[in-house]
Amino acid sequence: MKLARDTWLIFQRQLHLLLRNPVWVFVGVFQPVMYLLLFAPLLKPALGAATQAEAYKIFVPGLLVLLAIFGGLFQGFGLIAELRAGVIERSRVTPVSRLALLLGRSLRDVVSLMTQAVIITLLALLFDLRVFIGDLLLAYLMLALIALMTSAVSYGVALKVKSEDALAPLMNTVAQPVLLLSGILLPLAFAPGWLQGVAKWNPFSWAVDGTRALFNGDIGDDRVWQGLSIIAVLAAAGVYWAARQFARSVR
């Protein structure tokens, strides 16, 4: 009960600060729209898809997973600024739940990602993408779990390294192979066998496959539950680890 209340408190505060920043709101909406309008038209010929809608079925899920990963991974920067301002230390002398300090922030990140996801989906509908609402909601769940995990990990790492100079290269180093080996931008179906073998070890590759299956209407596909389970376990582990960083002494 206290956890829920504290989480809601931190979440409200973080969301409020986010919405107050017009630059962020603009970028958050503008960026995905640009992807969709400027990148997507290349896809139909590149993927050899029969129709534009066919190409979107492959590209949109990948784009959403990409946004979820990156939306989360770079949230740690904001936390370092808070650390420096003394806001985290101030929170830590109050009896507020340490898990709530993390969850409130991560849920804010999930909500902002979901907003982007909805905008993109609606736009893609205009371009003849068709997806069942049940499948879509399940895909959104996958995205929410991804964002929860990446933002929690990013916060945890931020509390450990305590400096932007260390966080930036670290996150980039993580993000690059994750991105390349997940088949996010182009499906790994085109990849040589060894690359597919390596990608099997990348949880995001499973997440992308699952999301694509959902957009394709194959809710019964094994890749759906496999992707969801893998990401759910990782998200739980990430949250647990990051909350412990909040509980430990910082600065």
């Binding site: 408190l9 409020h16 600060l17 301002a85 003394g86 230390e89 101030r90 830590r92 002398v93 009896p95």
Partner: protein, 319 residues
Amino acid sequence: MIETRGLRKSFRSRAGRETKTVEAVRGVDLDVPAGEIFGFLGPNGAGKTTTLRMLATLIEPDGGQATIAGADLLKDPGEVRRRIGYVAQGGSTWDESTGREELVLQARMYGIRKTEAQRRAARALEAFQLVEFADRKCKTYSGGQRRRVEIALGIIHEPKIVFLDEPTTGLDPQSRAHMWDEIRRLRADGMTVFITTHYLDEADALCDRIAIMDHGEVVAEGTPADLKREISGDVVQVGLDVTATGEAEKLLDGEEYVNRLELLDEGGLRLFVDEGATAIPRILRRVDAAGLDLRSIELHRPSLDDVFLTKTGRSLRES
């Protein structure tokens, strides 16, 4: 209200290849009764902040124990958190929030309901003369305004004890005087206030009792008056013509209240006495009866700096 025994903390810091251990706090025993302003006086790096952060549950002590407002620091840090307020040395407000938002959030982090939190924030803004700026972003505040918000944040939940780490550093003399008044008001409301400072006059004028800290240890503790009395008593400086000085020396040297006597080069005497206030009239009577021409008479009381000097061999002003 606060009782610590043997509180210790050392930090390991890496400089290149070498790891060096800094013993920031080495065995601090304190007893702070309820309702007083207790001051921690010491130079930079003495270990004041480290001690405070341990007492505020932010870092774990390496050794020792403490009871704060009846709660055990090591066994029940959660309960300690509920009973104390803490205002950090380096600030704690967020640039993009307003003072009012910060206060409401802080109250709510202590579990206070929304309407009550808003009421308390409004009251705190008034008490700390912040109403004008309440709804402006913190980044637009002056240093003094921001410090006032931070102090208000530390006491919004009406704790039994509040720790203020250098509450007046960086304030102009007027804001400082204001801050002293605010802190005295907290004491009047029944709060125990624990401050750190490296200002001698602040420790002297504001604190009921002080502990002088140096290199991680408490080197002296007591009321400012007691500490100073312990040191040396008072010094009375008598200004006389050079010609009259010799005679005055003969006159006063034998007096039983004069502990020691020095001649001044420019004429006159310096008398070391226990109690300046009672010595001065007696000196005056002797000098007057002998018909000597008195140019001036001054009473010098030992300062806390003298206390620091005798305890550590260094002056706080120089270090």
